[in-house]
C-alpha cells in the first residue's frame, strides 16, 4: 500500500517535472535595438511569460536586414522586429514569412503606432513597439543663459535665433551629411509643424501636390535659417553625431531630432552629465510634433514553437509589458491605454504625443514609397541640394514631385 502511494507520488512529481521542462521553450528574437536587451533579460529571468525563455539576439542595424533575410532561409528566428511601414513589410508578406496577426488583443495599442504594423492591404501583421517622437530638441541650459522662452510661433523662433546668434551660439544645428536624418526626421518634423494635418494627408493621398506653397514653405523655412546664418557654418560637412555633440556641448541651442537622444543611454549625457533637454514642435501653423511607431514585433509563420511565440506576442500587447518597457528600455511603448509612467521626461513626452502630434506620416506612407525613387530618397536628396546651395526651395519641391510622378504614384495624374 505504502509502496503504491510512494510510487504514485514519485510518478506524479516526475510527470510534473518533465511537464515543466517540456514546456519551457526558448524563443529566439532578432532585433537591432540594444536598448531592449535588459527588458527581455528581465522577462526571461523572471519567467514573466509562463514556460518561455527568451534568446534575444541583437544585430547591428546596418547588417540587420541582410542577416535576417539570409537566416530566414534556413529557419531563422521565431520572432523578429520589423522596421516601421508597409514598404518594409511587403517582401516578408509576399514570402509568407508573416501572416495577419490573430489571437492578440490590440485594442489598447496607440493608434499612432498601428501604421507601423500595417501591411499594404491594411491588415495588421504584428504588435507595434515603441512610440518615438521627433521635434525640435533644445538645450535648456543654453536657452536659460540667453534668457530665451520657448517660441510659440515662427516670428518668436526668428527672434530667439537672433538672440542666440548674438550670444555666439549656433541657433539651429544641422547634420545634413546624414541622409536618413534628413528624410526621416527633418522632413517629417517640418511638415508636422508647418502643414496642417488635412493638407499633409492630401500629400499622401495625392490630392495635394508637393509643389503646393504649403509644402514649399517647409523647405523655404530651412533655407531661410541657413541664409540668416542660424545654422552651423557647413551643415553638409557635419553628420548626425556632430549635430548632437554641438548641442550637448552648448555650442548650439536647437536641433531637429528624436526623443531617443534624450533617453538614458544617449551619448549626449556623457558629453554633459548635467544636460537638460526640452522638446518643442516647429512653431509653424500646425505646431505639432511628429510621432510614429518605431517598428513591430513579428511572428515567424514557419516557427515550430507556435504556442510559445503566440504567448510572447500576446504579452507584448499588455499593460505589464508597457510598464516594463518604460522601466527597462527608457522609451515609450506603443501601448495606448492607461499605464504608469514614473519618469518625468517620458510622461511629458507621452503628453505631447497624446495631445499634439500630427497624424499623417508621409515618410512611412506606402503610397509615397512604393516605387523608386521613393519619397524618402527624394527628400534626402532634396534637402542636400537645398543646403548646398544647389537648388531653391521651389526647385527642390518640383524635383520631388517629378520623381514621384516618374513611377505614377497615386497623385501623378493630379500633379503634372
Amino acid at each position: 500500500m505504502k509502496n503504491f502511494k510512494l510510487t504514485g507520488l514519485l510518478l506524479a512529481s516526475t510527470f510534473l517535472a518533465v511537464a515543466q521542462t517540456a514546456t519551457a521553450e526558448e524563443v529566439t528574437i532578432y532585433s537591432w535595438r540594444e536598448q531592449e536587451i535588459p527588458l527581455w533579460q528581465h522577462i526571461s529571468d523572471n519567467n514573466l511569460i509562463d514556460g518561455v525563455t527568451i534568446n534575444f539576439v541583437r544585430l547591428n542595424s546596418d547588417d540587420y536586414d541582410t542577416k535576417l533575410r539570409i537566416d530566414l532561409q534556413s529557419g531563422g528566428p521565431d520572432i523578429f522586429q520589423g522596421r516601421a511601414g508597409a514598404a518594409w513589410l511587403a517582401s516578408f508578406i509576399d514570402a509568407g514569412v508573416i501572416v495577419p496577426l490573430e489571437g492578440v488583443d490590440l485594442s489598447n495599442m496607440a493608434p499612432a503606432a498601428m501604421t507601423a504594423a500595417m501591411g499594404a492591404d491594411g491588415q495588421i501583421y504584428g504588435v507595434p513597439f515603441a512610440i518615438q517622437m521627433e521635434s525640435i530638441i533644445y538645450n535648456k541650459g543654453v536657452f536659460e543663459a540667453s534668457g530665451i522662452a520657448v517660441p510659440t510661433n515662427m516670428a518668436e523662433l526668428t527672434a530667439a535665433a537672433d538672440a542666440l546668434a548674438a550670444a555666439g551660439v549656433t541657433p539651429m544645428s544641422f547634420g545634413a551629411r546624414s541622409g536618413w536624418w534628413l528624410n526621416q526626421v527633418v522632413g517629417e518634423v517640418m511638415t508636422a509643424g508647418m502643414i496642417d494635418d488635412a493638407t499633409s494627408q492630401g500629400l499622401i493621398d495625392g490630392t495635394v501636390c508637393f509643389t503646393d506653397p504649403a509644402f514649399v514653405a517647409t523647405l523655404e523655412a530651412v533655407a531661410g535659417w541657413q541664409a540668416a546664418g542660424y545654422m552651423n557654418a557647413s551643415p553638409m560637412a557635419d553628420d548626425y553625431g556632430a549635430m548632437r555633440t554641438a548641442v550637448a556641448l552648448g555650442e548650439a541651442a536647437m536641433m531637429i531630432d528624436g526623443v531617443w537622444s534624450s533617453g538614458p543611454a544617449s551619448p549626449m549625457y556623457e558629453i554633459d552629465p548635467d544636460l537638460v533637454m526640452g522638446f518643442m514642435p516647429v512653431p509653424g501653423d500646425n505646431g505639432k510634433v511628429y510621432a510614429f511607431g518605431d517598428g513591430t514585433y513579428l511572428a515567424n509563420a514557419a516557427s515550430e514553437k507556435a504556442d510559445a511565440v503566440a504567448a510572447v506576442m500576446a504579452f507584448t500587447a499588455t499593460r505589464d509589458f508597457a510598464e516594463l518597457f518604460v522601466a527597462q528600455v527608457g522609451e515609450l511603448p506603443a501601448y495606448g491605454a492607461e499605464y504608469t509612467v514614473e519618469d518625468a521626461r517620458l510622461s511629458m513626452v507621452a503628453e505631447m504625443i497624446a495631445t499634439n502630434s500630427a497624424a499623417p506620416t508621409p515618410f512611412f506612407a506606402y503610397a509615397l514609397n512604393a516605387g523608386e525613387p521613393s519619397y524618402g530618397q527624394l527628400v534626402a536628396d532634396g534637402y542636400q541640394a537645398l543646403l548646398s546651395g544647389g537648388s531653391t526651395a521651389a526647385e527642390v519641391a518640383a524635383t520631388i514631385q517629378a520623381g514621384l510622378n516618374s513611377w505614377n504614384y497615386v497623385g501623378a495624374a493630379n500633379c503634372q
Binding site: 547591428n60 542595424s61 547588417d63 542577416k67 531617443w260 552629465p273
Partner: protein, 280 residues
C-alpha cells in the same frame, strides 16, 4: 646589393626626414585612437577627441575584453585565421606551381577562372554561396567559415603566387626533374624554399584579411560560441552611436596579433630572399 644602397650622411638625413614625415601621418590618427581608448566615457571622446584623457582608464581594455567576450572569441579567431592561412598558402602555392611549371591543356582556362574570382568579390554571390554551405551542412560551424574564407582569398593568392613564380627561374627544378624527382618532392624540396617571400606575403595578407573579416562570419555563424572577435566588437556599435572608447580599445587589442604576424612575415621575407635562388 646593400653596397649599392648605402647612403651618404646628407642623403641619410633627407631620407630620415621624409620617412619621419610619413610616420607622423601614419601615427597621428593611431595616436588619437590610443588616447581615446583610455578615456573613461564616450562624452570625453566627443568633447575633445584630441585632448588627453582626464584619467587614464586602463579599465577600458578590461571592459572591452570582457564586454566583447574576447576571451571566448579570441580562440575562434585564432583557429579561423590560422587554418585559413595554412589552407590558402598551401593550396595557392600548389595550384600556382602546377599552372606555371606543369601546364596542360586546360590550365589557361583554370587560371582564367581564378582571375574571374579576383574581379568579382564573393559578397555579391552571397545567396548562392549560402545555399551551398547550407546544403553541405556547414552552416554555423567553424569549418564552414574557414572554407568560405579560404575560398574567397584563393584567387588573389593564386594571382600573387603565379606572378612570383613566373619571375623565378626554373633551373633548380629542371635539375631536380632530371635527377628523377617527382612533382611532390620538387614542390616540397625545391620550390617551397624558393618562393618563401611570396609565401610570407600571401600568408600575411591572408592572415590580416581573415583576422578582420566581419561579414562572412556574420552570415555563416549563428551561435555566439563560434563568433570571432570581429563580431564581438560589433557589440560596441549601438543604433545611433558607437562606444568609441571601448571600440578603440578593442581594435587596438585586435591589432596586436597582426603586428606580430607582420614581424614574423618580414623576417621570413628577408631570410627567404637572401638564401634561395636569388644568388646565382
Amino acid at each position: 646589393m646593400d653596397k649599392l644602397f648605402r647612403l651618404s650622411r646628407t642623403e641619410q638625413l633627407v631620407v630620415q626626414f621624409i620617412l619621419i614625415a610619413w610616420a607622423i601621418v601614419v601615427l597621428f590618427p593611431i595616436g588619437v585612437a590610443v588616447i581615446n581608448s583610455f578615456k573613461p566615457n564616450l562624452g570625453e571622446v566627443y568633447r575633445g577627441p584630441l585632448n588627453l584623457p582626464s584619467e587614464w582608464s586602463f579599465g577600458n581594455y578590461v571592459e572591452a575584453w570582457v564586454g566583447a567576450n574576447f576571451g571566448k572569441y579570441f580562440l575562434n579567431s585564432v583557429i579561423i585565421s590560422g587554418c585559413t592561412v595554412v589552407i590558402v598558402t598551401l593550396c595557392a602555392s600548389t595550384t600556382a606551381f602546377v599552372l606555371v611549371r606543369m601546364p596542360f591543356r586546360g590550365s589557361a582556362i583554370i587560371f582564367g577562372c581564378f582571375m574571374l574570382g579576383v574581379i568579382i568579390p564573393i559578397r555579391l554571390a552571397l545567396a548562392p554561396l549560402f545555399v551551398t554551405v547550407n546544403t553541405l551542412g556547414l552552416l554555423d560551424t567553424l569549418t564552414g567559415v574557414i572554407l568560405v574564407q579560404s575560398a574567397s582569398m584563393m584567387p588573389v593568392a593564386v594571382f600573387i603566387m603565379t606572378a612570383f613564380l613566373r619571375s623565378v627561374p626554373s633551373e633548380l627544378e629542371d635539375a631536380a626533374r632530371m635527377d628523377g624527382a617527382l612533382p611532390f618532392s620538387i614542390y616540397w624540396r625545391v620550390v617551397l624554399p624558393l618562393i618563401r617571400p611570396a609565401i610570407a606575403t600571401v600568408a600575411l595578407l591572408t592572415f590580416v584579411q581573415s583576422w578582420n573579416e566581419y561579414f562572412l562570419p556574420l552570415i555563416f555563424l549563428q551561435s555566439p560560441e563560434n563568433y570571432p572577435i570581429t563580431l564581438g566588437i560589433a557589440e560596441f556599435r549601438s543604433q545611433f552611436a558607437v562606444q568609441w572608447h571601448l571600440m578603440f580599445a578593442g581594435i587596438l587589442i585586435m591589432l596586436i596579433p597582426t603586428i606580430i604576424a607582420f614581424v614574423l612575415a618580414s623576417r621570413q621575407f628577408i631570410e627567404g630572399l637572401t638564401q634561395g635562388g636569388v644568388k646565382e
